[in-house]
């Protein structure tokens, strides 16, 4: 890892080196040993005496009226304890992250293939499965509304939600829209200023988060009439906020505890089995566990919005961008989920990390009878990046310029303004990141005389011995925001307790942060060590007994909840020092905690923390609110909308079997500025994992939807990259501190997922000479057999 700071700025990395396992080190995960021993309790591993298994009946139709539901035969099956429909819901019947438009169980109609209609609790999962099959539903099947043309003409094709049903941000079948105009916008006069104009229509398929741990959890009815829910989620408090009203109980009677989470990537931001398990537990008075099978998982969570995009760029002969125009149409599917925020991202980030004097943009999300789409790693910035980066390559070709040089010529930097008018007030090393991936050594050239077929396109299938294989190289760079935007106060809470246990000072960190695999708990312990000068840190289980930690999404947790832990630990340190001042009358103003002691820079060790604390505990809770943002103006898109920006650049090297249309990514290089790497091992792991999901989108991953029906809800048919598909991923990490962020850090997880896809497609274009305006690129796109 390379580390550098901007001249004249304080090097935040040099401060506080008291503990080797503090920030900047790479101590091992506290849950690592449990995980390698098979003893870590994931949500699907939970067990309770007398527990029942819950299961849902899901619609086989994307759009239909429900004429009747007959549960009588299902109820007769021995071992069945309850069968519920929407009529059995005691509280409100709708929920949703931003717009409460989704029924907990379908009411009179279904709007997507896989929508839950009824739920069953039984003593064995097979009994539940059989009971589900015995529920008789009479449908009036309707023609689904699935295309942009159909969605935008509701008077002809119908409404996904009737206009009177609820209030959305849009109208008709438009869920949300955002326009943006910057400079002079895009007019004939502006167009006339450009020497060269390139344009294109681009398309991104529907990607799935495909976390390995299926949606699951256990609801246990409590004696006080409330409910304890153990669940794999990304945000405990917003789950509670959505579930409690449906159960008809006050929020404080619904207690959530995080169960082990097997990955998330945005797919657990919405509810899945939470309400269903609780309703069944409430009705039967017994604990109820629900575990989705993989096919149900594909139906049970939202996906990445598929996008259709038009981009147009004008530039001068020497490569300076003059204007950019874009329209991005996102298919949000049946229910809103996070569509409004995804639209905001697509519109505000959709022209990339470039200085463009004149900009126009319109982004919309549609309601349709396709599967619902919402949060997935990259969140609206991924789709756009494929559009604008393809355009950059097209423009470079048109101008006869090097594609990296063209990007660098137009790259934004600190002090420049986004098209939203927001000035970037921390490092934005876009040109440097590109230079770094360009300067990395290339892998050895394809050597046909000495090959291992396993390393070629087709790999173990042994489809080529090198004949027809052509190499290509491509570049890209992308921009992503960190944290929730547009006026949202996604604060985080942390509680830190310091006391003496077994003769040693021990810190306990308690937050509601969802550890989904990213390593947040490792970082929390590092922060506590650094701030409190202790070695021993315990992490309290995440639950709703402490305040919200916001969502594990938007690359925000280290920034937000890590920040909260920092501030709570600082408060504890100050309280301990104040205690010492009171007891010993210290007048030094150079006190800190280090190595289990209170230390004065001038006078040395003053007292051990053990002696100062005695039998007392210091237990303090702090909230961390990021700087305020504002919603973008609906028509102009102007506003200080984002908390922080993050950038990643990639270089992809690919081998393409041009006869069979098979692609082997040979190497995928990344350079990213992370501000400050709190845990370098985890930072690199995040970047490599993020690049790999981008590789999946580039050449493999798509949920195939035909007439509203999902055709590949399994890992047999929805392919995610295996270890044979993924190449070495060299990572170059820059650390240019952001003065606005805790420790100067910058969110890490999403930027590589935004930026890496277009580099791979650019490399395939370089190898084949094909236009490739759609991802994922499939063999038939390369062989012309489509």
């Amino acid at each position: 890892m390379s580390t550098r700071t901007i001249a004249g700025q304080k090097n935040l990395q040099d401060i506080r080196t008291g503990s080797k396992d503090g920030i900047g080190g790479s101590p091992l995960r506290p849950d690592g040993t449990l995980k390698v021993k098979g003893e870590f309790a994931y949500s699907s591993d939970l067990w309770h005496e007398d527990m029942l298994w819950g299961m849902a009946l899901r619609s086989p139709h994307p759009r239909a009226n429900i004429l009747s539901v007959d549960i009588s035969e299902a109820l007769k099956l021995p071992g069945v304890y309850a069968v519920l429909t929407h009529e059995d819901i005691p509280g409100t019947k709708f929920y949703g992250l931003e717009i409460q438009d989704q029924p907990a169980l379908a009411i009179d109609k279904v709007r997507y293939h896989g929508e839950a209609i009824a739920i069953v609790a039984a003593d064995h999962p097979e009994t539940a499965r059989r009971a589900v099959k015995k529920i008789k539903v009479e449908y009036e099947v309707l023609t689904p509304i699935t295309t942009e043309e159909q969605c935008l003409n509701p008077e002809v094709y119908g409404y996904v939600h009737e206009p009177h049903e609820f209030k959305s941000h849009g109208s008709g079948n438009i869920c949300h829209s955002q326009k943006l105009v910057h400079g002079g916008g895009v007019t004939d006069e502006i167009r006339a200023l450009a020497d060269v104009i390139v344009s294109g229509d681009y398309e991104v398929g529907m990607q799935d988060q495909a976390f390995l741990g299926p949606e699951s959890g256990l609801a246990v009815p409590a004696e006080d009439g409330g409910m304890d829910l153990y669940v794999a989620t990304q945000w405990l408090h917003v789950d509670r906020q959505q579930v409690a009203p449906v159960l008809g109980i006050p929020e404080e009677k619904l207690r959530l505890t995080l169960a082990g989470v097997g990955g998330a990537f945005g797919g657990r931001e919405d509810l899945s089995m939470q309400i269903h398990a609780c309703l069944l537990a409430q009705r039967t008075g017994k604990p109820v566990k629900i575990v989705y099978a993989r096919d149900e998982s594909f139906f049970g969570h939202v996906h990445r919005h598929p996008a259709k995009m038009y981009y147009e760029h004008g530039a001068t002969r020497d490569g300076k961008l003059v204007y950019a125009d874009a329209r991005i149409v996102l298919d949000g599917g049946a229910y809103a989920s996070a569509s409004p925020a995804v639209v905001g991202n697509a519109a505000s980030l959709g022209h990339g990390p470039y200085n463009i004097p004149n900009v126009r943009m319109e982004a919309i999300a549609l309601y349709s009878n396709n599967p619902s789409c919402g949060a997935m790693r990259g969140f609206g910035a991924v789709q756009a990046c494929f559009g604008y980066e393809t355009q950059m390559d097209k423009l470079a070709a048109e101008l006869g310029m090097d594609p990296v040089e063209l990007r660098q010529l137009n790259a934004m930097a600190e002090g420049d303004s986004m098209p939203t008018g927001q000035v970037i007030d921390s490092p934005a090393p876009v040109a440097e990141l590109l230079q770094r991936v360009k300067d990395m050594p290339l892998p050895p050239p394809l050597d046909l005389t000495n090959l291992d077929v396993r390393t070629l396109p087709g790999a173990l299938s042994n489809t080529t011995h090198g004949e027809g294989v052509v190499r290509g190289i491509g570049y890209s760079v992308g921009i992503k925001n960190v944290g929730f935007s547009e006026g949202f106060d996604d604060y985080s809470t942390a509680r830190v307790r310091l006391e003496v246990i077994g003769g040693e000072p021990v810190a306990m960190v308690h937050t509601a942060m969802a550890e989904v695999g990213q390593g947040g708990i490792t970082v929390h312990a590092q922060i506590a060590r650094t701030e409190l000068g202790v070695e021993q840190v315990t992490i309290h289980p995440a639950n709703t007994e402490v305040g919200s930690a916001g969502s594990t999404s938007a690359s925000r947790q280290t920034y937000m909840t890590g920040g909260a832990v920092k501030y709570a630990a600082e408060a504890v340190a100050q309280a301990l020092i104040a205690k010492g001042r009171k007891r010993y009358g210290w007048t030094h103003n150079d006190l800190s905690l280090n190595g289990g002691k209170v230390v004065s820079e001038s006078a040395g060790v003053l007292v051990s923390m053990v002696d100062l604390l005695g039998d007392d505990a210091i237990d303090l809770t702090r909230e961390h609110h990021h700087r305020p943002t504002v919603p973008f103006d609906k028509e102009t898109g102007q506003g200080f909308g984002h908390v922080q920006y993050t950038f990643c650049a990639n270089r992809a090297v690919v081998d393409v079997d041009v006869e069979l249309g098979l692609v082997k990514v040979v190497e995928l290089t990344a350079a990213q500025d992370v501000g400050k790497a709190l845990n370098p091992l985890s930072v690199v792991g995040q970047i490599q994992g993020g690049c790999t999901q981008a590789l999946g989108l580039a050449v493999m991953e798509e949920i195939i939807v035909k007439d509203g029906k999902v055709r590949n809800a399994s890992f047999t048919d929805y392919l995610i990259p295996t270890i044979l598909d993924v190449p070495p991923i060299p990572v170059d990490v820059l650390e240019l501190p952001d003065p606005n962020a805790p420790y100067g850090l910058r969110g890490v997880g999403e930027a590589p997922t935004v930026s890496a896809t277009p580099s791979i497609v650019a490399a395939i274009r370089a190898a084949t000479g094909l236009a490739l305006n759609r991802v994922p690129v499939r063999p038939e796109h390369l062989t012309g057999t489509l």
């Binding site: 699907s44 993989r294 890992f715 993924v726």
Partner: protein, 161 residues
């Protein structure tokens, strides 16, 4: 039906097993060994990989009745009294564990690879682990972990000789 077999060296017995149950279900829900994971239950992801009579299998694809009187070794059986298996320790040390859901299957598959081939090439590793999906790491740290485990195991053998 009743199924009796050996799990991690100990005799186990499961009663009232439905004929359609998989070995994975019996391990996870009936004999208290939930370490093997249920990510796809159709043999695509490898997260349920266990040894069946010393051969790695996807336990979701093995009918419970097929293990009668046979030996099963799961992720819970890799460590012994002296501590973690070198493969387990290497996965922790190399940062190959993020969410960890793929880890149990990868550990068993890697354990088997290094038993058969103590010093695999990178391509050998990729081939051997190509049936185990991981969604978090991008596999780079997993490659590091296998190389590390291989080096440590060879060193250990070298020292004891």
């Amino acid at each position: 039906m009743r199924v009796t077999f050996t799990a991690n060296g100990k005799p186990v017995e499961a009663d009232d097993v439905w004929e359609g149950e998989s070995l994975l279900y019996v391990l996870r829900e009936r004999v208290g060994l939930p370490g093997s994971k249920n990510a796809c239950e159709q043999g695509e992801c490898g997260s349920c990989t266990v040894y069946l009579d010393d051969v790695p299998v996807c336990s979701c694809l093995v009918a419970a009745g097929q293990v009668q009187d046979r030996e099963v070794r799961t992720v819970e059986g890799l460590a012994d009294e002296s501590g973690l298996d070198p493969v387990q320790q290497a996965f922790i040390d190399a940062g190959a564990v993020q969410c960890g859901f793929c880890t149990p299957g990868l550990l068993v598959q890697t354990h088997d690879l290094l038993e058969r081939e103590p010093q695999p090439s990178d391509t050998d590793i990729r081939e051997a682990l190509s049936g185990n999906l991981c969604r978090c790491t991008g596999y780079e740290k997993i490659m590091d972990a296998v190389r590390l485990a291989s080096a440590r195991k060879c060193q250990k053998v070298g020292t004891s000789e």
